[in-house]
């Protein structure tokens, strides 16, 4: 027997699992339309590869993964693409996301699938490719693209998560009761992706005896080929949130995922059991992920149970199929009562990660009573699986003290809701933490932005100061030169006055020296002056030619444009010359940049002028 470790805190909310485990896996009628969001997974939204009006077959690729962290999306049934537009997302915010709207044709006709009779012959890359092609994303709730997780290099332990610790949810339980063999096959398949794997564990809470029996039965029946790792079923005590990734890892291995890292950092990868089964079906039968088992439960429904739902089915359709009594209900929750989110628009669709739709009656899950004062009783700290001090986080969240929030490790909060569940003052603690995390992230973003702006501003100030200093230096030099010249002139005059017999050759030497100095001091000025003269000449020439034949208004306009072009061209020439000269002289980078910019500007003007001229002609 493997040693079961414990994690700190945790709670025991009423399980409420029996309501949905009475029946098997049921099915419902096809909806009138399927709304398939392009982003059902963590990462980039997929790119649609179909067009409005196109007919697609069941399982046909309709949107392709965009980049590495993304997932393919396939048609859940055959039919026509009616639109690719913004539709309400299955998200707490209720925002609209780009979705493919598919109108089923009722035939439910499959595209030809590429099955693989001997999956055990496939190598790791082939398995990952098939999983990626099938568009798998974590089905336990997070929706992380599966193929990305399979890329871990140094993985020793593969854990399948069957804990399903949230009250009400039984999708994995039912899946294991019916498809344990496929789950195990999926586990063996995924195991082959990791060359250094040492163990395969399935973690499951002890409140699912039927599922455990089914797993054990399937494990006994599994052919022992000798070259595969043994799968170990590990039964853990029922305690919320044992199904949290970090908590299950702690339960099964005693290890902790370092703060801010993923399990791969300690050689562990975790997959949901439904994902493992989907991986098996993807590789063995070539089936893409187009449907899933979802628990539809709550006293506001006439019929509760687990349903195999097509991805994209509007929640409203599922509810109407199960006799939803809207007047008895106060909220529609996607997910379980602990971590699920309430949605307003039931036209939002079921997506790959939707494991539960909870429709509690008003008595079943009454609205929270008004928030009372925090008395720091510490029940939250006792319940916290991350061993945080929720009461302190609450104070600092209210005080918006971001430094303290970080010191108390707010980003290690997994938002499991255990603290809010036990809080005697009914404080919506998790909501405070979510808001605080959002504020901190935003503040960090803003800080990065303002840091960049500050750096840019400082660099600019420095540049300006440097240019000013250069100018000033030049000005001083000129002034000095001018004074020198004045002094020389005065001396000369004085010399001439006092001693007219003074050698004339001597003074002539002086003046040449002086002018040479001046030239060396202002090479630019001289060049620019000559350029200006050139430009003026060109303009004058153009004017002259214009005067010669001013027959009509149109031609006048043409001439005007030509003049503009020639002057722009000469300006460009001038700018280029200056740049070239500066480059040769090895001027500093900023000066060169300015000059290069000037050349570009001039080029642009020439182009503009040329275009205008062409248009006129």
């Amino acid at each position: 027997m493997r040693k079961i470790f414990d994690f700190h805190g945790g709670i025991h909310p009423p399980e409420n699992k029996h309501q949905s485990t009475q029946g098997g896996i049921e099915s419902i009628a096809l909806p009138k339309e399927l709304i398939i969001p392009l982003n059902q997974h963590v990462g980039a939204a997929a790119d649609p590869v179909v067009e409005t009006g196109q007919h697609v077959l069941k399982g046909q690729l309709i949107a392709e993964a965009h980049g590495f962290v993304s997932a393919n999306i396939h048609a859940p049934t055959s039919g026509h693409i009616r639109a690719i537009e913004l539709r309400t997302a299955n998200h707490a915010s209720g925002m609209a996301v780009l979705s493919i709207v598919l109108e089923p044709d009722g035939e439910d006709r499959w595209i030809e699938l590429e099955s693989c009779d001997q999956p055990e012959t496939l190598d790791a890359q082939a398995i990952i490719a098939k999983v990626r092609a099938a568009g798998l994303a974590g089905m336990g709730g997070a929706g992380f693209p599966t193929s990305v997780k399979l890329g871990g290099k140094d993985i020793q332990t593969l854990i399948l998560n069957a804990a399903e610790c949230e009250p009400y949810i039984t999708a994995d339980d039912i899946l294991l009761r019916h498809y344990a063999a496929e789950v195990l096959a999926g586990a063996q398949l995924l195991a082959r992706v990791f060359p250094r794997l040492e163990s395969i564990l399935i973690g499951i809470e002890d409140n699912k005896p039927e599922a455990i029996a089914s797993l054990e039965h399937a494990l006994a029946a599994q052919p022992n080929t000798g070259n595969t790792l043994a799968i170990e079923i590990v039964v853990v005590p029922t305690k919320y949130p044992s199904g949290g990734e970090k908590q299950l890892i702690q339960l099964l291995t005693g290890k902790e995922v370092p703060s801010g890292k993923i399990p791969a950092a300690i050689g562990i990868v975790m997959q949901n059991v439904a994902t493992a089964r989907a991986a098996w079906r993807a590789v063995r039968y070539g089936e893409p992920l187009i449907s899933r088992i979802t628990t539809v439960v709550g006293k506001a429904l006439k019929k509760q149970g687990n349903i195999e739902v097509l991805i994209g089915t509007p929640i409203a359709h599922v509810l109407s199929e199960r006799g939803f009594r809207e007047t008895e209900s106060e909220r529609v929750v996607v997910g379980g009562p602990m971590m699920g989110w309430a949605i307003e628009d039931t036209l939002a669709p079921v997506v790959k990660a939707t494991n539960c739709l909870l429709l509690p009656s008003k008595e079943e899950l009454p609205a929270a009573p008004p928030e009372q004062a925090c008395i720091r009783c510490g029940l939250c700290a006792e319940a916290c699986p991350a061993e945080l001090l929720p009461q302190q986080l609450y104070w600092y969240a209210r005080a918006e003290d971001q430094e303290k929030l970080r010191a108390y490790n707010i980003f290690d909060c997994i938002e499991c809701g255990a603290c809010s569940y036990v809080c005697p003052s009914s404080i919506p603690l998790v909501q405070y933490y979510r808001a605080a995390k959002g504020t901190i992230r935003q503040a960090e973003k803003d800080k990065r932005k303002s840091d960049q702006a500050r750096l840019r501003f400082e660099a600019r100030q420095e540049r300006i100061a440097k240019a000013e200093a250069e100018k000033e230096a030049k000005r001083l030099e000129r002034k000095k030169a001018a004074e020198e010249a004045k002094r020389k002139l005065a001396e000369k005059q004085a010399a001439e006055k006092s001693a007219s017999a003074y050698s004339a050759t001597e003074s002539a030497k002086d003046s040449t020296k002086d002018s040479a100095k001046k030239d060396a001091g202002e090479p630019d000025m001289k060049a620019i002056k000559s350029e200006m003269v050139k430009e003026a000449l060109a303009a004058a020439a153009a004017k002259k030619s214009a005067q010669q034949d001013d027959s009509s208004e149109a031609e006048k306009e043409l001439k005007r444009l030509q003049r503009g072009l020639s002057s722009a061209e000469s300006r460009l020439e001038r700018a280029r010359a200056t740049l070239l000269k500066n480059q040769e002289e090895g001027a500093d980078a900023t000066r060169l940049d300015t000059l290069a910019a000037r050349v570009k500007e001039a080029e642009q003007k020439v182009n503009d002028a040329r275009k205008k001229l062409e248009a006129a002609q």
């Binding site: 970090k246 909220r331 008395i375 430094e403």
Partner: protein, 354 residues
């Protein structure tokens, strides 16, 4: 469909301590054994104290809430003022004049609680603030404990009680030193002789007539609260352990200079009331379990130090207030190690020391 968009979790605990009101109600209930013992030994005075304190505390609470423009019934419904009233009433000597209770209630509710922002924001235990203000201002009235009703001496008649409370009639002749006083002012007697001769130890086994039973009463109530998980064991165990271990070092077997045996300290004065009802006030104590252990132990040590070397015979209120000061400081250094972190860190850590 409702426009409210409730956030997760959508369910809430339904245990016996699932609301602040039920926590407070449980605490009120748990004071019963101690109250019964007090009444048994000291007469109806404690109950009269209680009634007066409830009237004044709830009155001041209502007034303060009105002045602060808060919904009165909603806040009265958390029963925190009731708990303050009960703790103050249990700490003040029976048959204390009515104005003593009124003054104590005013300082507890208005000054210590509402001036700091109400429930949850008060850094000091309101009942203890009220008690200490009274003890310092009116030492005579605050140290007059009636002789326990035992061995022929009956209860004070009700009329006399009311006279004492409302008309200021003196209880002279009916009051005596408490066991803690007796030990403190003991001169020349061994502890054994003191137990044999002093009236405060008449027919007492451990820690003084009546007092040992009062303490046992509060211990029973405290264990009930522990069982109900109203608080964790850390603070009470810390305090009791300190108050047990320190006398072990200083109890010399019972000479005249002895500071009293470990059991004497555990079962006399306000030890058990303090350990289970005062220092477990979560608002004013340290927050982490380790922090509460340290907080409790420090209070236990302070109680012993003040009892033995200080000017006051008992010291729970002073020790609690002193440690209320220190609670935030303890908090900074006792942040638990969070999942995924190598070790615990002080909350004083600066951002750039990651």
């Amino acid at each position: 469909m409702s426009l409210m968009r409730p956030s997760s979790p959508h369910t809430h605990s339904a245990s016996s301590i699932s609301s602040t009101s039920s926590v407070m109600r449980t605490v009120v209930l748990a004071t019963l054994p101690g109250l019964i013992a007090l009444t048994h030994f000291f007469g109806v005075g404690s109950i009269l104290n209680l009634l007066l304190a409830i009237i004044f505390c709830l009155g001041f609470e209502t007034l303060a809430l009105k002045l602060r423009k808060k919904p009165v019934l909603f806040y009265l419904g958390d029963y925190s003022a009731l708990v303050t009233a009960i703790l103050l009433a249990l700490a003040v000597p029976p048959y204390a004049p009515w104005w003593l209770i009124a003054t104590g209630s005013f300082f507890a509710i208005v000054v210590a609680k509402h001036l700091y922002g109400g429930l949850g924001f008060n850094p000091f235990n309101p009942a203890m603030v009220g008690y200490v203000v009274l003890l310092i201002s009116f030492p005579v009235e605050m140290t007059q404990w009636r002789i326990p009703a035992i061995e022929g001496l009956g209860y004070l008649p009700l009329l006399d009680s009311l006279n004492a409370i409302f008309a200021g009639a003196h209880l002279d002749g009916f009051t005596s030193a408490t066991p803690l006083d007796a030990i403190k002012h003991n001169q020349g007697l061994t502890v054994e002789d003191l137990y044999a001769t002093h009236s405060a130890f008449q027919s007492a086994k451990i820690a003084g007539t009546g007092w040992e039973w009062v303490n046992i009463g509060f211990l029973v109530g405290g264990l009930y609260l522990l069982y109900q998980k109203v608080f964790t064991w850390h603070a009470p165990v810390g305090m009791l352990a300190a108050l047990f271990i320190l006398p072990v070092f200083f109890y010399d077997g019972g000479s005249s200079a002895s500071a009293g045996s470990p059991f004497f300290h555990l079962f006399s004065g306000a030890t058990m009331l303090g350990a289970f009802f005062i220092i477990t006030d979560p608002v004013t104590s340290a927050t982490s379990t380790l922090g509460r252990l340290i907080y409790g132990a420090a209070i236990g040590a302070l109680v012993f130090i003040i009892r033995v070397w200080g000017n006051y015979p008992d010291a729970v209120a002073f020790a609690v207030l002193l440690m209320n000061f220190a609670a935030p400081f303890i908090d900074y250094y006792t942040v638990p190690r969070t999942y995924g972190h190598e070790r615990a860190q002080s909350a004083l850590r600066k951002e750039d020391e990651h």
